[in-house]
Amino acid sequence: MEQMKKVKAKVLSQTKIADDIYDMWIESDLAASAKAGQFICVYPHRESTLLPRPISICDADGEGNRLRIVYRVAGKGTEELSLYHTGRNIKILGNLGNGFPLSKAAGKRVVLMGGGIGIPPMLQLAKELKREGKAEEITVISGYRNGQLFLKEDMEKYAPVHAATEDGSAGTKGNVLDAMSALSIRPQVIMACGPMPMLRAIKKYAEAEGIEAYISLEERMACGVGACLGCVCKTKEKDEHSHVNNARICTDGPVFDARDVEI
């Protein structure tokens, strides 16, 4: 396993790209080894909020030492983050977690599904799958609340992107699965990140269709490195590390084979 580290990093830019959604580029040499589906932890400066905030890697430019995160302002920590200006030093821990298993896409029609703030990791994933060039076909389906289709253009550099919107203001009205059936897309592999109800529906769909699905889970974290056992998810079989039916999302995940977890 590659060495994790807590490093000083620098904010290169910060842009608001939709309601409450911010796009930040960070200077850090973690970019060189960052993989789609991995995440970093950002440590707030406010002293009342001590715990690191896990945020997925949205884009990594290894040569330029640049990492990108896209996040929604959800509370105090992300609010603080949204106020950082260019040049601000921040502390981050990375690269954390396993990332998506690119090899599973080889020779397959793969659909990437991102829902809401689960969309960002799909950009890096599309980029890596495209770069690998082993998937037979890559399609992205992104679920948005409304017509603010953040990151859609970025992802289109690597694969066709279909949008689903809750309010029907763009793409298919409904969720990502609605869009998939409306578009009659029948993937052999799904890779997804998004809210729990979406992931549950994908797991159910994949099981019904007998296809593979790799889903990225979220849970409240304290350490981010596998030490506190705060971030577990239920597993179908006994987990190899914990010897109970719990896996740590931060180190054993965040990406799991949908069949292996009980969500």
Partner: protein, 327 residues
């Protein structure tokens, strides 16, 4: 690796230059002894906040630590509580892990061999639901090469009753003496802060033969999400730890260490050397860094270094002279 300042043998000629002398030739002892076990320095990890040691070995040199204290280990694997298990509070955090652990066999086969590779002491935190559970673990660890046992009778996140051992003096006396009968290693009783009088508990453990005490475990707390109208933790309540609780912990360490003769290991909100020294001065013989590992993965090793700096700055030759020095 021994403490580099203590073991420095050669005294260069520059001795007369005051500044260099102060910095380089200052011989300091950071060793402390608890129940006959010698620790290279008083900085330990607080149980449950340092995994099995492996998770933080990539950040800190475990050889630099006085001891690694493991996550609670039970006789059989425990599932722990449902999630969410973590909530953030002002200057602290709540946890309701519920003592998930892979059980003593896995500990012996996987985690202990890893820890034994390092030149640090290994203290196993033992948990159980019944006295028999505890005794099973204690016996199983008997010939294992583990240096000490820390008995967690104070976890507030397990419904089945363990906490009662830590909240009633007679129960505490009873479990302590039973464990002492079986234990091959010195026994540390880890006390709960959720009591009216910590000295009563400390005295009960001492009377029952405990070799040392550690405190404090987490203080029971709760957080409600007013927008979702729901408890943040699935378990409703959780244990509060972090800088927020430090004044309570210092007070209890002071009270307990003045009420009993056995050594006290202090913890509760320690972030750095300043905090650690505050506990030593209050009467702790050693200290442990807990939740702050999550905030700064380097916290334990930085605490060791910071204590050395403090000693150099004030010309303190023996760390033992700091223990309980404020009365």
């Amino acid at each position: 690796m021994k403490n580099k300042f203590f073991t420095r043998k050669f005294v260069p000629a520059a001795q007369s230059l005051q500044a260099m002398r102060k910095v380089w030739l200052f011989r300091m002892n950071t060793k402390v002894t608890i129940a006959g076990v010698e620790f290279k320095n008083p900085v330990m990890t607080a149980s449950g906040t340092f995994g099995s040691g492996m998770e933080y070995a990539q950040f800190v040199d475990l050889n630099r630590l006085g001891a690694v204290v493991t996550k609670g280990v039970a006789n059989v694997p425990w599932e722990g509580n449902p999630t969410p298990r973590i909530a953030e509070t002002y200057g602290g955090m709540l946890n309701a892990i519920g003592l998930q652990n892979p059980g003593v066999e896995v500990f012996l086969q996987r985690d202990l061999p890893f820890l034994k590779k390092y030149d640090t002491k290994v203290i196993v935190n033992v948990c159980g639901k019944t006295v028999e559970d505890y005794l099973e673990v204690v016996e199983r660890l008997g010939d294992s090469g583990v240096d000490m046992l820390e008995i967690n009778v104070s976890c507030p996140n397990v419904k089945e009753g363990a906490i009662a051992f830590g909240q009633k003096a007679d129960c505490l006396y009873d479990i302590t003496s039973q464990i002492k009968k079986k234990a091959k290693q010195p026994v540390i009783m880890k006390l709960s802060p959720n009591v009216t009088d910590i000295t009563e508990m400390a005295k009960a453990a001492e009377a029952a033969g405990a070799d040392a005490l550690s405190m404090i475990n987490t203080i029971t707390g709760m957080k409600i999400d007013i927008h979702k109208r729901a408890f943040v933790l699935a378990n409703k309540t959780g244990g509060l730890s972090g800088p927020a609780i430090k004044p309570v912990a210092v007070r209890m360490v002071y009270q307990a260490s003045h009420a009993v003769k056995i050594p006290v290991i202090g913890m509760g909100g320690i972030s750095d050397a300043e905090d650690a020294i505050e506990f030593l001065m209050a009467g702790a013989t050693a200290v442990a860094v807990g939740a702050m590992n999550f905030v700064n993965p380097y916290a334990t090793e930085e605490t060791v270094k910071g204590i050395e700096e403090y000693m150099r700055k004030y010309g303190i030759e023996d760390i033992n002279s700091l223990i309980g020095c404020v009365e």
